[in-house]
Symmetry: C2
Subunit: 181 residues, 2 copies
């Protein structure tokens, strides 16, 4: 497979410089732009998760704990099943993390009132404090980033991010992230 227009072997070995380019110039330029976007997403996401990672390390938690604390914080009283749906992991995976977060007093379970099979999840005060600690730097980072783009930048950013979702996931994600005031 001859690499793409420019990244790969091309520049390094000079081969593409000699052979006529299979891919027209404009298409190659677009590809380059898209790959830059892909990498930007990779690096930005990495930095985006770095602040909470630092805090989590202090207290001996990992990202899995973070996700649990976050989504329980955002969805107080969420059932285990619903949390599994959001996280898309197995209940055995969740169990370990959940146990630790509960043992350390950040989260409590309450038997569902209507359906007593359910164990509804709530943050304790300590849990809410932890969540705030974790979310604060991310919120600041996102606030600054959105502010740094021109007017309409936030809307455009959201549109793009939303379009990155699988089409099938969009309604569900909308449900998950949008909370009524």
């Amino acid at each position: 497979m001859q690499p793409a227009g420019k990244g790969l072997f091309s520049a390094e070995k000079g081969a593409d410089r000699l052979a006529p380019v299979a891919r027209p110039r404009a298409a190659a330029a677009e590809e380059e732009r898209l790959i830059e976007a892909i990498e930007l997403l990779f690096f930005s996401y990495r930095d985006f998760t770095s602040d909470p990672d630092t805090i989590l390390e202090e207290i001996g938690f990992g990202r899995a704990h973070h996700r649990v604390v976050h989504f329980v914080g955002r969805n107080p009283g969420i059932t285990v099943a619903a949390l599994l749906d959001i996280l898309r992991i197995t209940k055995q995976s969740l169990a370990r993390v959940l146990r630790e977060v509960i043992e350390r007093g950040y989260l409590v379970q309450q038997t569902g009132e209507k359906d007593r099979r359910q164990r509804r999840l709530y943050l304790t005060e300590a849990g809410a404090e932890l969540w705030e600690r974790l979310v604060a730097p991310q919120r600041e980072r996102v606030r600054n980033a959105l502010a740094a783009s021109g007017p309409g930048g936030e809307t455009a950013w959201r549109e793009v991010m939303f379009s990155l979702l699988d089409e099938t996931q969009r309604p569900e994600v909308e449900k998950i992230i949008i909370k009524e005031p």
Copy 2:
């Protein structure tokens, strides 16, 4: 623990409903928006990585292999040290993945011409094919997402993503992702 109405502490204890709100209405709305953005980033990134994950699973590779193939593809002849810098993992972690990728014929090492201590990394043809397979769906996804936003959307999106980076990382990331045509 009392559930919460919406965000964090507010409804959590119910106290805020009685006491005059510490956080003005507008600020609370902004917080909500920012948290939605945080979650959008989380879900979008998850879907963004899902296509390659499927392909990788078929061939018994993981994301670590993907990252190696990708960044070697984008930076032919990259040294091990430079790759470690990009990936920000230890050489022992990289070693395993690198060995597998090489053993299976996707990547070769060449002793550096100037500095013969270096093992410069290149994709083989099979490696370039794999890279193309992995990057194609992501490129399409990003292409569609960027196209879905209005004119100027791409620029705004990039600005926001770039601003999400740690300030200290920005020059380096710029170096890594931008390739001359």
